[in-house]
């Protein structure tokens, strides 16, 4: 400790240094920082969003979140399957969850709807629901885990996304498949390619024994059991294979972009 004290910027008065540091802070922060003291006071300051900004803690947190994207991509094992469950384990009723109420959920005419396919694919032909229903389908009973912490087990049936990507001649060396949805205020979400190619990542057309109901994303949702719920887009209108990170509805607001399970 003694040596540390001596080494702390030789020739600089510590009090002056502290005063200069405080001057660099925005007004409100500075006042509260000084009156609150450096330890407990500073911690309580961090609870407010505006103060978080002035500490530039937000920028630091964003950088760590990007680092966490990298760590999770590194941890992602394409051969690790999400645990599956017996039908008896299915949560009933399976919760409806969105940033709007069920009455505000998109009402899509299945006969008029077409899935748009864009970006780095050979065949950009739009797909009708009847055409998609002709593709081979598989069922999965997996746990949906919400970013909020709750979870529920559901039964989803549809076409593995990787089969569809192969069918349309997608460049699977691209970085993302970016989904755009019909939710109000425009929902969209990027899915990293390794996850898009995971065997359990599914274009879902059925929930349980029924056609996917409006509450769960009719006509099509993307079921990704290796991701948190918000990375499972519903009411999908289009998909784009791209190398660009185009952001997402929740990702842009601060949820970790990879959000892998």
């Amino acid at each position: 400790m003694g040596r540390m004290r001596k080494l702390l910027i030789p020739g600089v008065d510590k009090d002056l240094l502290a005063r200069d540091a405080a001057k660099a802070m925005p007004d409100v922060t500075r006042r509260r920082f000084i009156t609150g003291g450096a330890s407990l006071g500073a911690l309580t300051l961090l609870t407010g969003c505006d103060v978080t900004d002035s500490f530039s803690a937000e920028e630091m947190l964003k950088q760590v979140s990007k680092f966490n994207d990298g760590v999770q991509a590194w941890m992602f094992n394409p051969n690790a399957m999400a645990p599956t469950f017996p039908e008896s384990a299915i949560t009933k009723p399976f919760p409806f969850n969105a940033y709007y109420s069920l009455d505000e959920a998109p009402e899509i005419d299945g006969n008029a709807w077409k899935l748009e396919v864009r970006g780095l694919v050979d065949n950009k032909k739009p797909w009708t629901l009847q055409e998609l229903y002709q593709l081979p389908q598989v069922k999965q009973v997996t746990r949906h885990i919400c970013v909020e912490g709750w979870s529920a087990i559901g039964s989803w049936t549809g076409t593995p996304l990787r089969d569809f990507l192969k069918l349309v001649g997608a460049d699977t060396t691209a970085k993302y498949v970016w989904f755009q949805c019909a939710d109000k205020d425009g929902y969209n979400s990027p899915l990293d390619m390794p996850t898009a190619l995971h065997a359990q990542t599914q274009m879902t057309f059925r929930f349980g024994d029924e056609i996917l109901p409006r509450a769960y994303g009719f006509p099509m949702k993307i079921r990704v059991p290796t991701k948190l719920g918000f990375k499972n887009p519903k009411y999908v209108m289009s998909m784009e294979v791209t190398n660009d990170y185009k952001g997402g509805f929740w990702e842009d607001q601060g949820y970790n972009s990879f959000s892998g399970s």
């Binding site: 003694g2 947190l61 760590v64 690790a80 999400a82 979870s151 290796t226 601060g254 949820y255 970790n256």
Partner: protein, 209 residues
């Protein structure tokens, strides 16, 4: 440990050997900051989907909303884990854990607890922990390991599904994670209260003596 405390002694040759060596103080206060950030952001995350019939007041949570709290939680976890690993590694390698925390006997805990409650427990030698301290410190280390492991089980229930299964599945791991937090908070309340009652122990954790 010995290298660090030797440096310490070199800088202040007239003083006695540190009660708390520099490395212990460094990891202790780093852990204190990381724990407080983890707990306060964790409370905000809990509020998004409470396990019980209560939520934590916004005045004691960190992050402002779920997304902000998650950013704090998944940033401070690195500090908590790296610092915790350093603590466990050095503690085991130097024999500090064995020397300071063992043995813990039921008789020792009972007699020291009785002495503490009747005000007869001596704090003359701060380098030696009594049996109640040993039990609490060893216990909170175990809970600290469990809170990190259950947290990893919640974060990666697919990639680390063996770990999640060890905790009895995703939903069970949420309860384990919560109760570990509750245990740590209970420890902190007692720990801080006692540190304030015996201020020289707090001083030893700050300046070493």
């Amino acid at each position: 440990m010995s290298a660090l405390s030797a440096t310490d002694e070199h800088a202040t040759p007239t003083r006695a050997k540190a009660i708390q060596p520099a490395w212990v103080r460094a990891v202790h206060w780093t852990n204190a900051v990381a724990m407080v950030v983890m707990i306060m952001s964790g409370w905000q995350i809990y509020n998004a989907s409470p396990l019980f019939g209560f939520t934590f007041s916004r005045s004691i949570t960190l992050g402002g909303w779920l997304g902000g709290a998650l950013l704090w939680h998944f940033a401070a976890m690195w500090l908590l884990m790296v610092n915790g690993l350093i603590y466990l590694t050095v503690g085991l390698a130097t024999g500090r854990f064995r020397r300071k925390l063992l043995p813990i006997t039921p008789e020792g805990v009972i007699s020291d607890a009785r002495a503490a409650l009747t005000g007869k427990l001596s704090h003359d030698d701060l380098t030696r922990y009594n049996h109640v301290q040993k039990l609490l410190y060893a216990g909170v280390i175990v809970i600290g390991i469990l809170v990190v492991l259950s947290g990893l089980a919640l974060w990666k229930p697919v990639q680390l599904q063996w770990l999640t299964a060890l905790f009895g599945g995703y939903e069970a791991a949420r309860y384990v994670h919560f109760f570990c937090m509750a245990g740590i908070v209970a420890f902190m309340v007692v720990h801080v209260a006692l540190a304030l009652l015996v201020p020289k122990s707090l001083r030893a954790m700050i300046i070493g003596r």
